[in-house]
Amino acid sequence: MAAPSLAVDLAPGNPRELVLANPVIAASGCFGYGLEYAGVMDVQRLGAFVSKGITPKPRSGNRMPRITETPAGMLNAIGLQNPGIRGFVKKYPKIWDAWKVPAIVNISAESVEDYAMMARILDELPGVAGIEVNISCPNIAAGGYCFGWDAAMSADVTRAVRAATTLPMMVKLSPGAVDVVSVALAVEDAGADAVSMINTLVGMAIDVRTRRPVLANATGGLSGPAVKPIALRMVYQVAAAVQIPVVGMGGIMGLDDALEFFFAGASAVQVGTAVFAQPGMLIRLIDDLGEWLSSQGVGSVQEIVGAALPAGLPSRRAATEADVEIDFAAAVAAG
């Protein structure tokens, strides 16, 4: 039997498409700009990687401590330390342009206009394969209420970015949303090519000796195996509702975790925290997935996507119903 196909297009509705050789992506904030890991692993073998979140202006980030370990997880409050869109553009895309692996740029902002401004700058930039819009950011115009918690605000950002660029666009959903399905449907309607989920959950840890929060920022984003059941549930709910691809993440440590996300309806997965512990696991995951598909006699990873959804993937459902109608029409004509 031929080797199973691992390929996936994360922007099937976009002529600029985002075709990955395999569905394993290094998550934003956990892989720097790709270069940091180039010495320890073969970065080019990844399906793609997502850059650290880029903001309109340079940011020096939060005070220390910024990270702390929690049971089977970690909290981070890095504070989006990055060189800003202009500093970023000067340095990284030209390096990525010579790379085989698609580089996706994660953008964060505090106003709709700033998201659009960054998207315009990235639009025709060689080396940039797509955009991931991080909507887990405070909206200054809404008194700091997080864009991603509200369907209408999430749609506003998506629409503005869509108007600013034709690049493949993935909108990264926040698990803090009151109703994550309505946010997903709203960003789909506003022109997102895919959704990725989940970003970290807001949490905290307190040092019992000092009686103070461990993180200088008091709260931080929880990631790692501890969040996996929540992430999986959200992917399952969203994948049952939207037509566009869902990229799942949250606590993936190896093959079985990734398979759970595929069965829940994710067309691809991202891995963050696990890479800190074991950089080699990304490549192992790609290999393990290929071997597992072969062992199961499955020809393509896309065949298993949504296996756990009672009614399958909506996009497939629509295709099947359409096929049936055409067949019916053909049968009538023939009769």
Partner: protein
């Protein structure tokens, strides 16, 4: 000093302009010696050729859990205590403190560990420095032992000062080369000076061309205060190894930064060794 970008990558420039190539490798525990009270000195196997490339001040990140377990999730950084290119081994000094170190310090011989390294920059000995002063607090002794080995091999003079809670927690003289002057301080006075190791520092500051320190943050605070009156024009220069909680060890997560006069730097790649006067404390 090379001016480093705050979000520098290992491969393009690396620490001090040297390309650092870390690897994730399996390492076997070849020996475990109890030392310094409840600490353990582990002798670990290295991939061929690595031992000779290790520099004093560098560290490795050890995964302190068994396959299939997620706790503790992240690796723990340990300074290289000594490296031997003849036997292709290195030693780590581990003080059982919390979950990771307690696990590591109690591993039996022949355990295979998942190690990422070598990581970080290194202490820098100026070519003209003849007299070097080491200031160690507790397990901060580790990287200064390797630095002492290298300095003596180059024909320099070393005074090694160490502080610990009590006599039992001091590094035994047998672990240091014989031509090192060794001065000690203990909190309870059970050996050497009663008090802080930093109390011993001022009398050596005129002798020393450079000072190298590793220990807990409060030790750096007292080092700064005891040395300020005795240093003229910032001389002798003092290099310190700082400790930050780390996740990736590769400059990617920005969780371990140190604020310096050159901006935010990742202590895992651009550190952990800093000129004391360049850090914004």
């Amino acid at each position: 000093m090379v001016e480093l970008d705050p979000i520098l990558d290992v491969d393009l420039v690396g620490a001090g302009g040297v390309v650092v190539r870390a690897r994730e490798f399996d390492s076997r525990i070849l020996a475990v010696e109890p030392v310094m009270g409840d600490s353990a000195l582990l002798t670990l196997s290295l991939p061929p050729g690595m031992a000779g490339s290790l520099r004093a001040g560098q560290f490795v990140d050890v995964l302190c859990r068994v396959e299939g377990s997620y706790d503790p999730l992240l690796r723990r950084p340990y300074s290289i205590f000594r490296a031997d290119s003849r036997t292709e081994t290195m030693q780590l000094l581990v003080r059982p403190y919390g979950r990771g170190s307690a696990w590591l310090a109690s591993r039996p011989v022949d355990t295979i560990l998942d190690v990422l390294g070598p990581l970080g920059n290194a202490f820098h000995i100026h070519p003209r420095s003849r007299n070097l002063l080491m200031v160690a607090g507790g397990v901060g002794a580790a990287p200064l032992v390797m630095l002492t080995d290298h300095a003596l091999a180059d024909g320099r003079n070393v005074t090694y000062l160490m502080g610990a809670a009590d006599a039992d927690a001091l590094l035994p003289t047998s672990y240091l080369p014989s031509d090192v002057e060794y001065g000690v301080a203990t909190d309870d006075g059970s050996k050497g000076h009663r008090g802080f190791v930093t109390d011993l520092v001022p009398e050596y500051l005129r002798w020393a061309d450079q000072v190298f320190a590793c220990g807990p943050e409060p030790m750096f605070r007292s080092l700064r205060s005891v040395s300020s009156a005795h240093r003229l024009g910032g001389k002798p220069r003092i290099q310190v190894s700082v400790e930050r909680t780390m996740a990736c060890g590769l400059g990617a997560c920005l969780g371990c930064v140190v604020e310096t006069k050159h901006g935010m730097q990742t202590s895992c790649v651009q550190g952990p060794i800093y000129d004391m006067d360049e850090v914004i404390w």
